[in-house]
């Protein structure tokens, strides 16, 4: 994944149709292409019929009321759903045109290419250094990892704060530092994509601001998909925003998440096509 020149203005405004997706054969502008994706937990359809394209080296935000399947869809992008017994994905999830759920695809390998940062900072109860070195060591890189660790910590804007206490336990850090450590840990694996599931929801505004700045910096190198319940955050950092909602079936009592509208963030927040989007972003809903 070298730098590609992706003119951000050239992105399609409306959700990408299946025809358009298949016709992509020039520059790989889209990291992910989803076609009619359904995600189930056992018999329960949690996310229904999502089709969208997630552009390369951009920040794409998933917003919507809680329970609409944002996390579920995000976790289908690096096969974290495989870890939940009974979870199942239908439809096509393409990563640079490759079917992520194809028979030869190894979920473990997938996650080295597509990393993830979680809602609650979850550093390992090890030293700061060992946290960052964890991924490289998994990949068989032993010996001196000082350079790798420093680079990842710099990448996560954490180096200056921790360079003198790399051997300290990660749990001695503040929540915001812990979350940036988790980002450093993800970077150290050298992924192409970083998925973030409400990465700031457990953080104070100052730490949140830092992580948002960091995301903008990181998108030069990585494709970022972020779930957020904070609409201002989506408006501040995301290039494109997808709004999801929940449809409740009164007869069966089931609740299913659907993609309502997906477009450039400015459009979603200024003149959305769908009334439900408008109501949500203006705070009249949820």
């Amino acid at each position: 994944m070298s730098e590609t020149t992706t003119p951000s203005t050239a992105l399609p405004e409306i959700s990408v149709s299946a025809d358009k997706v298949t016709s992509v054969d020039t520059e790989p502008k889209n990291t992910f292409e989803l076609r009619n994706v359904n995600v189930f937990y056992g018999d329960m359809l949690a996310v229904k019929d999502v089709s969208m394209a997630i552009p390369h080296n951009q920040i794409t935000a998933f917003i919507g009321p809680s329970g609409c399947g944002k996390s579920t869809l995000l976790r289908s992008l690096n096969r974290m759903n495989d870890l939940i017994p009974g979870a199942r994905v239908e439809g096509d999830v393409l990563y640079h045109g490759m079917n992520m759920y194809g028979p030869k695809v190894d979920p473990v390998q997938v996650r080295t290419v597509i990393g993830m940062v979680f809602q609650k900072p979850n550093p390992f109860p090890k030293s700061i250094y060992d946290n960052v070195a964890f991924g490289p060591r998994l990949q068989g890189r032993n010996g001196n990892l000082d350079d790798v660790v420093e680079e990842a910590l710099r990448g996560a804007a954490l180096w200056d704060e921790v360079k003198d206490r790399l051997k300290d336990n990660a749990y001695g850090m503040s929540g915001g530092q812990q979350q940036r450590l988790c980002i450093a840990r993800a970077i150290a694996v050298q992924p192409d994509v970083i998925l973030m599931d409400e990465p700031c929801s457990a953080l104070d505004p100052v730490s949140t601001g830092r992580i948002e700045d960091l995301m903008v910096e990181l998108k030069k190198t990585y494709t970022i998909v972020i779930v957020t319940h904070n609409m201002q955050q989506a408006a501040r950092v995301a290039d494109r925003t997808a709004f999801f909602t929940v449809l409740a079936n009164d007869e069966t009592g089931s609740r299913t998440g659907v993609l309502v509208e997906y477009a450039a963030t400015t459009k979603i927040f200024s003149k959305p096509d769908d009334e439900r989007t408008e109501n949500y972003v203006s705070g009249r809903f949820g």
């Binding site: 017994p85 998994l138 694996v189």
Partner: protein, 319 residues
């Protein structure tokens, strides 16, 4: 426990002003505290009583046998016409049992715990866990008989190249004790590993760790204090195990030997086989039981202290 709380609120104008004082003396609270204190103290008193009851007769023993002779002597023959009180042979017997028990129970117990906590489906775990807990409580005399009847001949047959002699073997006793404590080690380690938060596992998976890497590099290190506690519990049981050792290693004359194919006594086996009806109080043989008991107590204590140190050093603290 306090009953009928009546608010003494004096109303003044609008809303009644409610008192901030305690409505009563809260007697129940004090009684409960006293009862809890008493139970806690009781367990300390009992332990102290055990120590004292071990120490007092030991003092009588050490007035006749020097501590040096006791700890360094290599012949243990307290009931002989020409008695000798070197405790080393039965200490070595105990250590041999512990060695073989660890050799069996630590790897197998840990592997079982990893399987149970990380690999087994909910259904499998729900079936196995209670079985383990039942196995923990199996009467050791039954296990000893099984080992003597089945395990000893089997091991002999499988290892014809070893210099087996009589029907007894301290090594087989150690292996049996190891088998005996596997359920305990597995069950307690499993509890420790399952209390590791799922978010840590997710974090490792998200970096491309395999299931086994998650177990070995994240879960086991995070649960290490609980796992060491499981080992200590297991080893303490191995040190204290009497019945199996009596049956499988025999209660024959102890000789200072590191040969696991021979029968010998352990410290507990000596106590168990000597403290029978026809031993009279006040004799030196009688007192020797308590000296051995006191040493056993010290060894277990030392191991627990060591384990606490280890736990403190290697513990990975998460909150």
């Amino acid at each position: 426990m306090s009953t009928s709380v009546v608010s003494p609120g004096a109303s003044s104008g609008g809303a009644p002003i409610r008192s901030l004082e305690a409505p009563g003396p809260r007697i129940g609270e004090k009684i409960i505290k006293a009862v809890l204190w008493a139970t806690a103290t009781l367990s300390i008193l009992v332990t102290t009583g055990i120590v004292i009851s071990l120490l007092l007769p030991s003092i009588g023993f050490f007035q006749q046998v020097s501590i040096w002779e006791f700890l360094t002597g290599t012949i243990w023959a307290p009931a002989f016409a020409n008695p000798s009180y070197g405790v080393l042979p039965i200490v070595v017997g105990t250590l041999t049992v512990v060695f073989f028990a660890i050799l069996i129970a630590v790897p197998v117990g840990l592997a079982s715990a990893i399987y149970l906590s990380e690999y087994a489906s909910k259904r499998v775990r729900k079936t196995i866990k209670p079985i383990l807990e039942v196995l923990e409580g199996l009467p050791t005399v039954a296990i000893g008989l099984f080992a003597f009847n089945v395990l000893t001949p089997l091991i002999r047959e499988l290892t014809p190249f070893l210099p087996w002699t009589g029907p007894f073997s301290i090594g087989v006793a150690g292996i049996t004790v190891g088998l005996l404590i596997i359920p305990l080690v597995a069950s307690v380690s499993d509890d420790a590993m399952r209390s590791v938060p799922a978010s840590l596992r997710e974090g490792a998976y998200a970096m491309g760790a395999t299931k086994f890497e998650v177990a070995i590099k994240v879960v086991v290190p995070a649960a290490i204090s609980g796992i060491i506690a499981a080992f200590v519990l297991g080893i303490s049981r191995a040190i204290g195990e009497t019945m199996v050792v009596l049956l499988v290693a025999g209660a024959g004359n102890p000789v200072l030997s590191f040969d696991p194919t021979k029968g010998t006594q352990t410290m507990t086996a000596y106590i168990g086989s000597t403290a029978t009806g026809d031993i009279s109080q006040g004799t030196i043989t009688y007192d020797s039981i308590f000296a051995v008991g006191a040493l056993l107590f010290l060894m277990t204590l030392a191991m627990n202290v060591l384990a606490m140190r280890l736990v403190k050093k290697y513990r990975e603290v998460y909150d």
